[in-house]
Symmetry: C2
Subunit: 175 residues, 2 copies
Amino acid sequence: MSLRHGLLGLLAEGPASGYDLTRRFEEVVGPVWPAKHPQIYAELGRLATEGLIKVESEGARGRKAYEITDAGLAEVRRWLVDTNPGQALRFEPLLRSFFFWLMEPDELAAHLDRESASYRQLATTYRDYAEAKDRGEFGSSPQTQSLRMAVEAGARIYTALADWAEWAAERSRKQ
Amino acid sequence: MSLRHGLLGLLAEGPASGYDLTRRFEEVVGPVWPAKHPQIYAELGRLATEGLIKVESEGARGRKAYEITDAGLAEVRRWLVDTNPGQALRFEPLLRSFFFWLMEPDELAAHLDRESASYRQLATTYRDYAEAKDRGEFGSSPQTQSLRMAVEAGARIYTALADWAEWAAERSRKQ
DNA sequence: CTTCCACATGTCGTTGCCGACATGTCGAAG
DNA sequence: CTTCGACATGTCGGCAACGACATGTGGAAG
């Protein structure tokens, strides 16, 4: 039930269409919670039926913008405050690490080099984004400050992963 | 298709039953790739049909132990070497962070305190485990060395998350 | 000798989630 | 005036994943 709360959370910022929300998901929320448009439209329909959101306006090209209701806002707040999150982080590269012993040492080292490079890249992207936010390039709304925290998490996690992959590459070469 | 490769990887260490694999998943693999027994038994059936594994022995209480075949070993190696992993890390606590602005500052600070404590706890657990491995308490097989790397990743990621949550808690209190 | 727990394997119904397919509109560029 | 790309919403079939239910066994403790 995380998708529905993700949608409610985004709609708490203001009205948006399924199309808008799909883009927000692929651009900002995607890295921690992927969702494609079929899911999103289906869930919006359900949320509307349950009265947690409602159609705010209908525009050109069949556009339907949804607005969060008081019930919806209460629900997303309840989710944030009362429920404790499933803490499992589903991450395929770490699943692979259990089976590194099945690779030849040179294959493994090469794999880890590629891995660390791509994590480093991501870490840099998030770090740059964080610095842009600190320079005030995105204003200072509460939403922006939450995003600042999310970006910081991204930067720290990918830095940790890049360091880890480098450590592991070195270790795999040393024997 | 990660579960099937996870199962093949575990079976590469030696024969095991569905029950064994279920426990290995909930004890070691679960934190990065959760799987419950209905999925596991179903997937084992499919893998056997495709000839990637085969029944090695049948024991008491209907126990069926599976063994990886040459085709299965080739498949898991192919997965490790040739395919590049989906790098999305699905993590609900970070999804929530996008919506922190919907919480009252004191609620948020309390939430982040709890969060950092639990990450710190996990980090310590992994760090202890890593040190036990370095003292040689689990031998020095290739499998153990892969596990050592996986554990290191866990320790580093949860340390990063604990630091992040502390940083965020402090930041949320400062305004 | 019974009771209880860990062992052990499965089915079933529901929801989550995705790729592919389908359809149509508006505006801008050529 | 046509064509193309971004906008926009949806359906459908299928696999993934999970919780609940079902069933039975072997050994150990009382």
